[in-house]
C-alpha cells in the first residue's frame, strides 16, 4: 500500500500526486517510471513517470492525465488514501552528461517526464533551451518550474491562447538552424509530436532522444507488450527504454500498437456511459 501525501490539480485533466515511497525515492533516477494499480484483483497496471522525488521526505511525485477509467479513478483519490499496488523505479535511467547545449521539447503531459531529465541535465552543466507547448493555455503544465531551469524558454500553444501560436516543431527548427547548432535534443510528448520532432531535427543531424509510453503489463521485460522497432532491432521499452534515439524509432508501428485495444476501450467507455445513464434513471425513478 502506498499512501497519497498530497494531491494538486495542475490543469483541467492533469493532476500531481505526492506519494509515500521511501525506497523508490532513494533509488530512482531521471527518466525512470513506476507502475501502479488501483485494485489488486481487477485493476490494470498503469506506467507513470516519476516527476520528482524527495529522498529526505521519502516521497515521489507523479503527474498524470485523465485518459481512461483507471486514471479517472485515481484522480478521485485524495491525500490520506492508499494505492494498493505501486512498483518501481522501472526502466533504464536517462544517460546524463555535459553535452553542451540541449534543446528540451515538452508537449502537453509530456512536460511532466521532461522536467526531472531537464533538471538533471541542468545540474550536469548543460545549457538548456526549453520549448513547451500544448493545445491551449489551460492544458499547459509546469511552466514556472521549467522556466526556472531554462537558459532560454519558449512557450507555444496550437490555438495561440498563450505564448507563440505554433506547434513545438517550429521553434525547434529555428533552434536547429542556429550556428552552432544544439548538441542534442530531447522530445517528450504525444507520439505524433515526438515523431515530428525527430523529423525536424533529422536534417540537422541533431541527436534526438524520445521517451516512449507504450502498452505495458509487468514492466520488467517479461511480457514484451511494449516492444518497438528501433532501427534494425526490436527493443522493450520497459527495460531497454523508455528513452531511444528518435531518428531510429518506427513511430507508425508504435502508434498502431498503442491503439491495439481502442475498440475494446471504446466499448467499455460506452458501457460505462450506459451504466451511468441507467443509474441516473434509477435515481430519478426513486
Amino acid at each position: 500500500m502506498t499512501k497519497i501525501l498530497h494531491k494538486k490539480q495542475l490543469s483541467k485533466d492533469v493532476y500531481l500526486m505526492k506519494l509515500d515511497a521511501p525506497l523508490i525515492a532513494e533509488e530512482r533516477k531521471a527518466g525512470q517510471f513506476i507502475i501502479l494499480q488501483l485494485d489488486d484483483n481487477y485493476g490494470e497496471r498503469i506506467p507513470l513517470t516519476i516527476a520528482d522525488a524527495d529522498k529526505d521526505e521519502g516521497s515521489i511525485s507523479i503527474i498524470f492525465q485523465v485518459v481512461g477509467k483507471s486514471t479517472q479513478d485515481l484522480s478521485k483519490m485524495n491525500a490520506g488514501q492508499s494505492i494498493p499496488t505501486l512498483v518501481g523505479p522501472l526502466g533504464t535511467p536517462t544517460h546524463i552528461d555535459n553535452f553542451g547545449t540541449v534543446v528540451c521539447v515538452g508537449g502537453g503531459i509530456g512536460v511532466a517526464p521532461l522536467h526531472p531529465i531537464a533538471q538533471a541535465l541542468k545540474a550536469a552543466g548543460n545549457k538548456l533551451v526549453i520549448i513547451i507547448g500544448a493545445r491551449s493555455k489551460d492544458l499547459l503544465i509546469l511552466e514556472d518550474e521549467m522556466k526556472a531551469i531554462a537558459d532560454e524558454f519558449i512557450v507555444c500553444t496550437d490555438d495561440g491562447s498563450y505564448g507563440r501560436k505554433a506547434l513545438v516543431t517550429e521553434p525547434l527548427k529555428e533552434v536547429c538552424e542556429r550556428n552552432p547548432k544544439p548538441d542534442m535534443s530531447i522530445a517528450i510528448g504525444p507520439p505524433i509530436m515526438m515523431k515530428f520532432c525527430a523529423e525536424t531535427t533529422r536534417p540537422y543531424d541533431v541527436h534526438t532522444l524520445v521517451s516512449l509510453n507504450t502498452i505495458m503489463v509487468d514492466g520488467t521485460g517479461m511480457c514484451g507488450g511494449c516492444r518497438v522497432n528501433v532501427g534494425e532491432d526490436v527493443k522493450f521499452v520497459c527495460v531497454d527504454g523508455p528513452e531511444f534515439d528518435g531518428h531510429k524509432v518506427d513511430f507508425d508501428n508504435m502508434i498502431s500498437r498503442l491503439n491495439s485495444y481502442k475498440d475494446i476501450e471504446q466499448e467499455a467507455h460506452e458501457c460505462n456511459l450506459d451504466r451511468q445513464v441507467e443509474e441516473k434513471k434509477m435515481e430519478v425513478s426513486k
Partner: protein, 505 residues
C-alpha cells in the same frame, strides 16, 4: 482418454474395490496387474470451452485406492530415483492403498511442501512414472501407476479436511535469508530454510505471489486457490512476503546484504524474457508473446471481461507458434476467450512436441487444430497495422540435431496462408537480465543464465540461484529440485556460521 462418463467410471471403481477388499486371501502382484488404470474424471469438453474451471477433476477415493493397489512396491525404487525431490513414492502409495490418507499426506510432506501443485503440473511421464515397472510390463508409460494423480489426490484430500499440518519450525537463529521470486524454486527454498529457524523474506515483483504458477499456468490446470493454500502454509510458518518489489530496481541485490543485513540470498527470478521468431510482421497489432497473452488472462483477470480493467485482444482466428506446455496453455486460453478457430503451428511432428501428452489430448478435445511440420514465414498486416494472415512453410524431418530430435527441414516453394487475426508466439524464454545487469559481479553464461556450482552457489559469496534463471526454461518440479539443493547449502552455511558464533561467545 476414457469414453465413459465420470459416473460410470466411479460406479466401476466402487464395484471393483468392494470385490478386492472382501477377498479372503491377500492381493498378489498378478492381481495388481489386472486392476485397470483409473481414468481421470474430466469436465465435459464442450462446457469447459467457456469457463476457467479445472479440466481434470481428480480421482475419487475409490479410484485412488485402486490405482494405489496397482503399485507393486518394487524393491528397486526407480520412481524415487527419477523424482527430482526424491519423494518416497511406494511409501505414500501404500498408505493410500490401505486407506490411510493422513499417513500418505505426512509421508509426501516429509520432502515436498507443494504436492497439490506437483500432482497437477509435473511431467510424471518423463520422471517418476517413466520407468515404473507396471508401465514397463504393460509396454505403455501411460499405463504405469499414475503417481501424479495419486499425489494430487492426497493433497486435495488433506486440503478438504481443512486441517493442513504446518511443518515444524526450529527456534529462531537470528539469521536472515532473502528469496528473490515467489515461483516454485523460491517457495521451496523459503520452506526449507524457514524450517531451520532462519528468518525468510520473499521478494516478488508482481502484486500476487506464485510466479509462473500464477501469471503463466491457467486456472483450468492449476487453480489459484491451490497456490494461495500453499502460500498460506508458508505464511503460517512465519515467512515474510514483500510484493511489488523488483530486486535490481527497488533495491540492488548486493544492498540486501550490505544495507539490509541479509545473511544469504536465493535468486529464483525465472526465465522472464519472451523470445520472438524474428520474422516480418511480428510487431503488428495482434501478435503477442504467450507470456503477455497468459499474463493478461490469468494474473490480470482479463478473462473476466465484466470486472477486469485490463483488456485482452478479441480474436476470431488464432495461430499459436510452438509445441510446449505454454503453447497448449495459450491455445486453450484462446478457445476459452471465444476464438472460433485456434491453430497450433509446430515445425516438427506430434512425437517431438515437448508438451505433455495429456495437455495435447485436452487441447484436441477442445477443438484445437494442430498443424505439424509447419512454421510461420511472415505475418501479413491489413488495416491499421493489424494481423490479417500468416504465411507458412511446410517442413519434413531430416537428420537428428544436437537435441537428438530429427531436424525439421523446409520444403522449398511450399508456402501457404492461414487466415488469422491473432498470432501468439510461444517458442521459449530467455533469462531476465534485470538482476544480472544491476549486479555486475554475478557471473552469467552467454544466454544470461546465472552460473552456479553443484550446491547452486553463484560466483558471489552468500548468493545462490536456481530454477529457470539457471536452467533456462524448464519445469516446476526441476525448479523445486534446484531450490531444495540451494536451501540445503544455505542451511549448512548458516548453521556453520551459527556454530562458530556460539563458540566465540
Amino acid at each position: 482418454m476414457s469414453n465413459l462418463s465420470n459416473e460410470e467410471i466411479q460406479a466401476k471403481a466402487i464395484e471393483l474395490l468392494e470385490e478386492i477388499v472382501t477377498r479372503e486371501e491377500p492381493i498378489k502382484p498378478r492381481d495388481r496387474m489386472k486392476i485397470p488404470p483409473q481414468a481421470m474424471p474430466h469436465q465435459n469438453e464442450f462446457a469447459r470451452r467457456n469457463n476457467l474451471d479445472e479440466v481434470a477433476l481428480g480421482l475419487t477415493m475409490e479410484q485412488a485406492r485402486l490405482e494405489a493397489m496397482r503399485c507393486l512396491q518394487c524393491v528397486k525404487k526407480t520412481c524415487v530415483n527419477d523424482c527430482p525431490v526424491f519423494i518416497d513414492i511406494p511409501g505414500f502409495i501404500q498408505y493410500i492403498a490401505d486407506g490411510d490418507m493422513q499417513g500418505a499426506a505426512d509421508e509426501i510432506k516429509k520432502v515436498s511442501l507443494l504436492p497439490s501443485i506437483c500432482g497437477r503440473v509435473c511431467p510424471q511421464e518423463t520422471q517418476c512414472q517413466q520407468n515404473c515397472t507396471v508401465g514397463k510390463a504393460l509396454k505403455d508409460v501411460d499405463k504405469g501407476v499414475a503417481i501424479g494423480r495419486l499425489e494430487r489426490f492426497v493433497a486435495d484430500w488433506e486440503r478438504a479436511t481443512g486441517n493442513i499440518k504446518i511443518p515444524e519450525v526450529k527456534p529462531e537463529t537470528g539469521k536472515k535469508v532473502a528469496v528473490i521470486g515467489s515461483g516454485p524454486a523460491g517457495l521451496v527454498v523459503a520452506a526449507d530454510v524457514r524450517r531451520e529457524g532462519h528468518h525468510v523474506t520473499i521478494f516478488e515483483a508482481f502484486h500476487k505471489l506464485g510466479g509462473v504458477m500464477r501469471y503463466g499456468i491457467p486456472e483450468f490446470r492449476l487453480p489459484n486457490d491451490i497456490i494461495d493454500q500453499e502460500i498460506s502454509t508458508l505464511e503460517k510458518m512465519g515467512v515474510e512476503f514483500k510484493t511489488n518489489f523488483v530486486v535490481g530496481r527497488t533495491r540492488k541485490l548486493m544492498d540486501l546484504i550490505k544495507k539490509d543485513g541479509y545473511d544469504a540470498i536465493f535468486v529464483g527470478t525465472g526465465a522472464g524474457l519472451p523470445m520472438f521468431m524474428g520474422i516480418d510482421g511480428e510487431n503488428l497489432v495482434g501478435v503477442f508473446s504467450a507470456n503477455e497473452y497468459l499474463t493478461r488472462a490469468n494474473l490480470m483477470r482479463a478473462f473476466d471481461r465484466e470486472h477486469a480493467d485490463t483488456p485482452i485482444y478479441q480474436s476470431k482466428n488464432v495461430a499459436v507458434l510452438g509445441g510446449g506446455n505454454v503453447a497448449m496453455d495459450a491455445a486453450r486460453m484462446a478457445v476459452r476467450l471465444g476464438a472460433d478457430n485456434v491453430y497450433v503451428v509446430y515445425r516438427r511432428t506430434e512425437k517431438e512436441m515437448p508438451a505433455r501428452v495429456e495437455e495435447v489430448a485436452h487441447a484436441k478435445e477442445e477443438g484445437i487444430e494442430f498443424h505439424f511440420l509447419r512454421n510461420a514465414k511472415r505475418i501479413i498486416g491489413g488495416e491499421n497495422g493489424r494481423v490479417k494472415a500468416m504465411e507458412c512453410l511446410k517442413y519434413e524431418l531430416g537428420e537428428p540435431d544436437d537435441s537428438g530430435r530429427r531436424r525439421p527441414v523446409v520444403i522449398p516453394g511450399s508456402e501457404f496462408t492461414l487466415d488469422v487475426d491473432t498470432v501468439i508466439v510461444s517458442i521459449g524464454n530467455g533469462s531476465n537480465p534485470l538482476i544480472s545487469q544491476t549486479t555486475p559481479e554475478l557471473e552469467v553464461n552467454r544466454w544470461g543464465n546465472i552460473i552456479v556450482d553443484d550446491n547452486q552457489k553463484t560466483s558471489v559469496d552468500k548468493i545462490y540461484a536456481g530454477g529457470d534463471i539457471v536452467l533456462g526454461a524448464a519445469t516446476v518440479i526441476l525448479a523445486m529440485g534446484e531450490g531444495r539443493k540451494a536451501a540445503a547449502a544455505i542451511n549448512k552455511m548458516l548453521s556453520d556460521e551459527f556454530a562458530a558464533e556460539a563458540k566465540n561467545n
